[in-house]
Amino acid sequence: MTGTPTGTPTGTPTGTPTDTLHELAAKQAALGEVRGAPGPDPVNAPMIRHWLTAMGDANPLYLEQGLAPPAMAQVWTMDAPRDRSPVDDVLAALDAAGYTGVVATDCRQTYHRYARLGERLTPATRFTDLAGPKRTALGVGFFATWNVTWYDADDRPVTEMLFRVLKFRPPEVAQPYPLQPVVNQDTAFFWEGAKRGELRIQRCGDCGALRHPPGPMCPACRSTARTHAVATGRGTLYSYVVHHHPPVPGRETPFVVGVVELPEGVRIVGNVVDCPVEEVEVGMPLRVTFRPMDDRLVLPLWTPEEA
């Protein structure tokens, strides 16, 4: 409909209902720990040396003792073939529900012991929790938490990790409304008024006559002194056209362009909205409504006055 604000950020979740997401999360959590593929390479000195060099870590312990730096835990299985883990289905469902943004929030690792050269580690993933929807600085989202445990050849845990991400709905970026008025010294007061919810009509600074559209000189007394009045915001439809064609950027056709007669004595052009086109008629009472079209522009539009 004409005059509907575009690109308004939506704060409420739509699409997959929250209940469905929580049901899926509970189902995935009930799967318990799901084993992944073992790391493709055993814990080895070249990868440790590479890691230490890149980190700038000069601790001699690791290569002297044949041990892996504990924070390397996840590295050993990064190249493992990825089977679908219980986490993937939850993240995919969140994506499908519009929570496409992702940011990691917590990483907690417990090291039962340091991994040794030559051993091969196998990860196992357990989905633990889905919390939300919650309002965050990034947008509305869900916190998804899972645990990964890396096991040695004897099935004993070497490292455990808790990982939490925020899956959020990115706020929509408002597109600028394509039809922008030319704002100049004569008209700035009108558009500033619209932003404040005031329908401002230019008034001659000398004789007090109201005039619209705004201009530099009073047509009655030719004074260039000017001020403005704030209209009541009521009016009646003096004349109108229904625009079907050609298409207008930022608008859906058909829309109504009306000339509205104000009780203050001037006429003003504006769209008639919130009313089926076939119900628009000359003489109908209207009330001004101020609609934000984008971050900068507020348009005064006209809706049918409630009886």
Partner: protein
């Protein structure tokens, strides 16, 4: 309780550091090595991956604790991204020291704010 403070560790986040650590942690996600792609996705630049953040927290604490220390636990809350061109400065305080087990409160800051905050627990002279 003791108010022992760890020596600060300031790391210049050069593109080389960001990229080489991402690859050393086997993380080939493009936002950690492809500047143009990172920018196209709305990031300021390439940024540290989480496995590296964990590694640098470990390094910060073991640089101070020495090679005899054994790290038992690293808990990190992740904050703002650590972009190439920024500087990551770690500070830490010992919050408890009991029976050879030390807990250190760690904070890693970049120009945008806290990149990582958390605690590291280690044994001062442990068996790995």
């Amino acid at each position: 309780m003791t108010s022992e403070t760890l020596p600060e560790l300031a790391i210049d986040l050069t593109p080389t550091l960001i990229i080489s650590t991402a690859l050393a942690t086997r993380d080939f996600t493009p936002v950690h090595h492809d500047t143009a792609l990172a920018r196209a996705q709305g990031s300021k630049d390439v940024f540290l991956n989480i496995l590296t953040t964990m590694g640098l927290v470990q390094r910060f604490v073991t640089d101070w604790a020495g090679p005899r220390a054994v790290v038992e636990r690293i808990d990190v809350r992740l904050g703002v991204p650590a972009y190439a061109g920024d500087r990551l400065t770690f500070g830490g305080t010992v919050t408890s020291r009991e029976g050879g087990r030390v807990t250190v409160r760690v904070r890693g800051r970049v120009s945008l704010g806290d990149h990582a905050t958390g605690t590291v627990t280690l044994k001062e002279d442990g068996r790995c």
